[in-house]
Symmetry: C2
Subunit: 412 residues, 2 copies
């Protein structure tokens, strides 16, 4: 058996069983353990360890020494410390909406957490056109609690600064700075544009100097605005879901950034599901029904966020100027503006940039995929350019309707 107490190495499935036997208290002594590596992310190894006697199970998530997304991204395994600490903090702020962390091991750079195998990855579920009627309620609570309760509005400012310091996250932020805010907006060699979409990208994105200028401004806001402790990568592949339960995980990109970043990512990824449904569901009634469900989910997330944010502010704000007339409305307005901008950035970068989403790449008909991509880009651009006017859930939905109309007219 290898020694887990001296020096980091990447574990095999066998090592993970040994680790569970000797370094954890989760299982009983007579447990009969099996293990499978189930990671499909890009940065980590994920071991599911099961006691076959009673089906009790646990996840061991270990940081790889190099990000698997590409050898170009070298990442320090310190991100797993950040992740464990964030999950524990978020568990306190939004209990039930993140997996429970049982222990963190700074030598092996791994954390042991709740097994969520009875949930499924939300992106997969949405591609299979499943509905989750409680998702808007759940995710809006998660967003308000993790974002507002970690801000200067609620936290003691000195304690907040200690958190800012603790969660400075240079390597993962660099990935977002490059892949979200820079490369999609010019003809970067690392981009991966679907050939049929390239002309549209050239004309509507790369040649639009006003759009490019706005994204430059947004990049600097991302790099400098230490507003809330954000998840930093809240797409539907970072959500495990089942009827009645929503769990947000994989917060390794977490740092103090603009609160709207997380909300915008949720909105954009629901729109990838929307694009998938629109261009893959054959039955018109079923398609209409599912698109309607997704539109309402987006509308509800924004409106519930606004409602819960406002109520939580009134109940929990400690900052004296939070009570100044008009300030809450101003502050919320900046979050909605950033939400819109980031939704637009995510919609753009997942079409143009290095990292795609399965909702789109799984559309097998090339023409349908191209139309889906153009829809995402059209909505995304509007979210970026019109971010100052987005005040409600309906505003977000109207951009979708307008984009569909616009593409329909152009196609005619």
């Amino acid at each position: 058996m290898k020694d887990f107490t001296k020096e980091y190495f990447t574990m095999t499935e066998e090592d993970a069983v040994d680790y569970a036997k000797t370094r954890m208290e989760f299982f009983q002594n007579d447990a009969e353990l099996t293990c499978k590596e189930i990671g499909d992310g890009n940065l980590n190894y994920v071991f599911k360890v099961v006691d076959t006697k009673n089906n009790k199970s646990v996840i061991i998530k270990q940081a790889g020494p190099v990000a698997r997304i590409s050898d170009e991204f070298k990442l320090s395994p310190d991100r797993n410390r950040i992740e464990s600490e964030i999950l524990q903090l978020q568990y306190k702020l939004a209990p039930g909406f993140v997996p429970e962390v049982y222990q963190y091991d700074p030598i092996m750079n791994c954390c042991v957490m709740e097994d969520m195998s009875d949930h499924e990855m939300m992106r997969t579920a949405l591609i299979n056109h499943k509905k989750f009627p409680l998702f808007a309620d759940h995710i809006s609570t998660f967003l308000v609690n993790t974002l507002l309760l970690t801000s200067d509005v609620v936290m003691d400012h000195k304690e907040k600064k200690a958190l800012v310091k603790s969660f400075i996250n240079p390597e993962l932020c660099e990935i977002s700075e490059d892949l979200v805010y820079t490369e999609p907006f010019y003809d970067c060699p690392r981009n991966d544009v679907f050939p049929a979409t390239k002309e549209f990208v050239q004309e509507h994105i790369w040649n639009d100097s006003n759009l490019v200028l706005e994204t430059a401004k947004l990049k600097f806001e991302f790099m400098t605005n230490a507003q809330s402790l954000i998840h930093g990568d809240l797409h539907t592949g970072s959500v495990f879901i089942k009827e009645g339960s929503t769990k947000v995980f994989d917060p390794e990109f977490a740092f103090y950034g603009p609160a709207g970043y997380d909300i915008g990512n949720v909105v954009a990824n629901l729109l990838f599901a929307y694009s998938n449904a629109k261009f893959t569901i054959a039955d018109e009634a079923a398609k209409k029904d599912y698109l309607y469900y997704l539109e309402n989910t987006i509308r509800d997330i924004i409106d519930l966020f606004i409602e819960k944010f406002s109520r939580t502010w009134d109940e929990k704000a400690t900052e004296p100027v939070a009570k100044v007339d008009g300030f809450k409305e101003y502050y919320l307005g900046t979050i909605l503006r950033d939400t819109s901008a980031v939704a637009g950035l995510e919609l753009t970068r997942r079409i143009i940039g290095l990292a795609h989403v399965k909702d789109i790449t799984s559309i097998t008909d090339p023409e349908a995929r191209c139309r889906a991509e153009k829809m995402c880009l059209t909505i995304g651009k509007s979210y970026i350019l019109n971010r100052d006017t987005m005040k409600s859930g309906s505003d977000f939905v109207n951009v979708i309707i307008d984009a569909e109309q616009q593409l329909l007219e152009e196609a005619e």
Copy 2:
């Protein structure tokens, strides 16, 4: 002799001599040292140690265990580490414009630095109506170099984040958050308003709900915008000056904040000197001449800042989006906006809040002092409310002229 290597204690003048003999390499072995504590700040002890044989001298600056400004502010002596590191960094970025640091001692919380006794404190010099024709050129170089070269525009983003982390400064920031951004804008018990000015303050500041809302927004920008490594307290009491030489010191409030904060403080403190001159110089021609000099200095600082900033950006920007059309102009515009806002905040808080400036308190005629204070408040309010329109040195000067006109009309 006390032991300087074990545990922190506050030094006497005698201790400082012993310290210089045993812990420093600055003086020769046969030096005949004398020492005088010359601090007039609020947070530190400042010992000037001189070798009477050759007049070589040095400053030992030691952090007090408790801020002397008031027992309410308890400060960790860690601020002296921050100060030493900042001075060393600023010395590299803007050589000659900060004192040289010879050594830093983390046990005694003191740093040994260049003696600037041949300079005088700029506030004192301005109260004595002295002119420094090179100040605008010097300070604009200092500002551009320390602010732009520490930003994401020029620095590698990961290295910048390491600096952000290293210079998180919770206690000193809290002082600014309270004294600059909060207390002056309501009838706070800790304020110290000159009785004759109080009615004006009530009417024009505390009762102006729009102004109060704008200051709330600015407070959150101060707390969240990690743009540049700022000095954080750049008033004319933090500048030592003589003909041909300008030295900025006392950077213990330094942290990553809005670049405009430092520039705004310089502008506001020149305006305190302006108010002093306007209401104390008896000879009309001499007064006119000195006011003209100060107006031109303010105009030149802004215009030289713009010019040098733009040139340095073109030469040194490494961030790819810095080259996007229109981005430099946008970015510079946000700095000028913040400059105006902070100039306004400083003008307001030094009249209303706990910490005053000698330029104003030394005006002995109560009516003149009251008029000087009203002028500062009128200019300050305009800088805050009209910050989006301030694009050049002349814009900053025009606010002064308009305020003088307005007060003249009201007096008639």
